[in-house]
């Protein structure tokens, strides 16, 4: 490789890194800035006086401002905190239920020599094409009558419409790529079809199933439209609508930044921990 080519390559890599990281780094830096410094007429690219005060005040404590005066806890703290708890509960429930529904179905569609296989798979995947706005209206009306709006259960059900077809798609293309004779050994040993699935196929698919679970969790945690329309202003409000009300009502961007960072940490950490598995997600082999 010539030197010039190498230099260009590294410059491009640096550019790619900045493009990816800079927006995230910027909101993190703003969350570590006092409002006083933030509101000054020049924009500081690095805070001169970094502080955790914005976070401390979100967690219901007072904290010292830049000049030592004590600031009361952030009024939006309870909203943001309960939003985080609700988001976690909804996302865990969605993950578990999505796996229970999607994994066996994906397995059957990929590896059981059954009729209607292609038709079943296409129907399930086709439901992904629906724009969310088209389905929010009927859900909204239905939930009003069933008393499900403003509940975590209602949101879990709505999220399943997004995660289950996606996981069936992912799972089918993964199970389809396993070696053809995998279940045969178990069946020769006298296992039933179901036991061959749980004892042989499931353990062999640990990584793919981890990726599926991670994607179900992220999809639910990140979901905004349903959460905004069903649960805004209720006790079942998840993090995104809680952040939305803080965002549109408070004009202290440093405080909003710290709340945003809190809500973004779980997906960022999970994606980083599991990125090896996510990277192998293959929707192409369908």
């Amino acid at each position: 490789m010539s030197t010039r080519r190498r230099v260009v390559l590294h410059l491009l890599a640096l550019l790619a890194l900045v493009w990816t990281i800079a927006p995230l780094a910027w909101i993190l830096l703003i969350s570590l800035t006092y409002h006083h410094e933030f509101a000054s007429s020049t924009i500081h690219l690095l805070p001169h006086q970094p502080t955790l005060a914005n976070y401390v005040r979100l967690f219901g404590r007072s904290a010292a401002d830049w000049n030592g005066t004590i600031q009361p806890p952030n009024a939006y703290g309870p909203l943001i905190r309960s939003g985080l708890v609700n988001s976690a509960e909804v996302a865990v429930a969605v993950t578990v239920l999505s796996m229970v529904f999607a994994v066996p179905a994906a397995y059957a569609l990929a590896r059981v020599d059954m009729r209607f296989r292609q038709a079943g798979l296409l129907t399930i995947v086709a439901t992904r094409a629906l724009p969310p706005v088209a389905t929010t209206i009927p859900f909204f009306v239905l939930y009003q009558t069933l008393g499900l709006s403003g509940t975590r259960l209602g949101l879990v059900i709505a999220h399943l419409t997004m995660t289950v077809p996606l996981l069936v798609w992912m799972g089918t293309s993964f199970f389809g790529g396993l070696p053809p004779g995998l279940e045969r050994m178990a069946r020769v040993d006298g296992c039933s079809r179901w036991r061959a699935f749980t004892r042989v196929v499931v353990p062999a698919s640990r990584h793919a199933m981890t990726a599926m679970a991670v994607i179900a969790f992220l999809t639910s945690w990140d979901e905004f439209t349903f959460a905004l329309i069903f649960n805004t202003g209720t006790s079942a409000q998840t993090f995104p609508p809680a952040l939305s009300s803080m965002f549109f009502q408070v004009s202290v961007p440093t405080e909003v930044a710290s709340a945003t960072v809190l809500g973004l940490l779980p997906p960022l950490v999970i994606a980083t921990l599991f990125q090896r598995y996510i990277r192998k997600v293959n929707l192409v082999g369908l």
């Binding site: 995230l24 933030f38 009927p138 709505a158 439209t225 960022l268």
Partner: protein, 310 residues
């Protein structure tokens, strides 16, 4: 089944089971089908029903109006304004997103210092979803405290208003591309990595330039993942809502009022359920027509290439 003679226990017949394969498969698929019937088929049906009804938002009374909601949408200037913006937005997101995804994938195919780090961090924007990307980029674009305004200030340049009437759609598209491109990078990289290096070396010996190598070796390998990514990102862009909600709320004026945002406003702010449903359905029809048309073109062109090469 006949029992074996001679008192020896009969060997298990490996491929028989009380259930037929279809029965076993159906048993596993049935829960998903029932779930989707309940939570997907119903909303589709109800939304179609709403689109042909006029609903009084206060009394809740409804009466059939046939295609009046659709006619109202199709004859209103707002609808065509929104449709035009949606198309413009989809084109911007697709072009920028595909460019970034392909560029990153080609870059990550090479060897350089810090490659594993870059490989790991590009997943971060994708993990955030579009609403969070909208919030994060609000801090990047803001003329008062934004990162870009800060850089401009330090360089002594005039800050540029990214969310002005003229710039708003491409600016939103950049955010969408930032969030969605990593998925495409992973897709494309997986296909790029199976191309043997020798192929490129041979082509170089044959005197092929970079552009020609890309067209003759790289492109045929990534045609399929690229096609799938284009459909995914196009569909995403056509139905984008949360990103616009956080960054511009359809503004300034109506400069980023796309069809999805229009449907949301009609339904939840103007309480016009019929009009909102009709707009959503028209959007769905548009997306389907474009996707099917695109597939037809992609398929026929790939068939032509295959014919030409055989």
């Amino acid at each position: 089944m006949t029992t074996a003679v001679g008192g020896v226990a009969p060997p298990r017949v490996p491929f028989s089971s009380r259930r037929t394969p279809t029965g076993f498969g159906m048993l596993l698929v049935a829960p998903v089908v029932l779930l989707l019937l309940a939570i997907v088929a119903y909303p589709i049906g109800y939304s179609l029903y709403l689109s042909v009804m006029a609903t009084n938002p206060i009394t809740g009374s409804q009466h059939l109006v046939g295609i009046a909601n659709f006619r109202a949408a199709l004859t209103s200037g707002d609808f065509w304004h929104a449709a035009g913006l949606t198309l413009y937005y989809v084109i911007c997101v697709t072009v920028i997103g595909t460019g970034v995804a392909l560029g990153m994938a080609l870059l990550l195919r090479e060897r350089f210092v810090g490659r594993p780090v870059l490989m790991a961090v590009i997943v971060l924007p994708w993990s955030l979803s579009t609403y969070a990307a909208g919030v994060v980029w609000r801090y990047v674009y803001s003329p008062q405290y934004g990162l870009l305004a800060g850089i401009a200030q330090h360089l002594g340049l005039h800050p540029f208003d990214f969310l002005s009437k003229q710039a708003v759609i491409p600016s939103l598209a950049i955010v969408h591309a930032w969030q969605f491109a990593p998925l495409g990078t992973y897709f494309l990289l997986a296909s790029l990595q199976v191309i043997p290096d020798d192929l490129y070396k041979l082509a170089k010996v044959d005197g092929m330039g970079m552009a020609k190598r890309f067209r003759n070796i790289t492109l045929p390998q990534i045609r399929m993942p690229l096609a799938i990514f284009l459909v995914l990102i196009g569909g995403q862009a056509a139905t984008a809502f949360d990103l616009i909600y956080f960054l511009t709320s359809g503004g300034p004026g109506d400069a980023s009022q796309t069809l999805t945002y229009d449907a949301y406003q009609q339904t939840f702010q103007d309480q016009d359920f019929g009009g909102g449903s009709a707009t959503s359905w028209l959007l769905l029809v548009l997306v389907t027509v474009v996707t099917v048309g695109y597939y037809a073109v992609a398929m026929s062109s790939s068939r032509r290439t295959r014919k030409a090469s055989s």
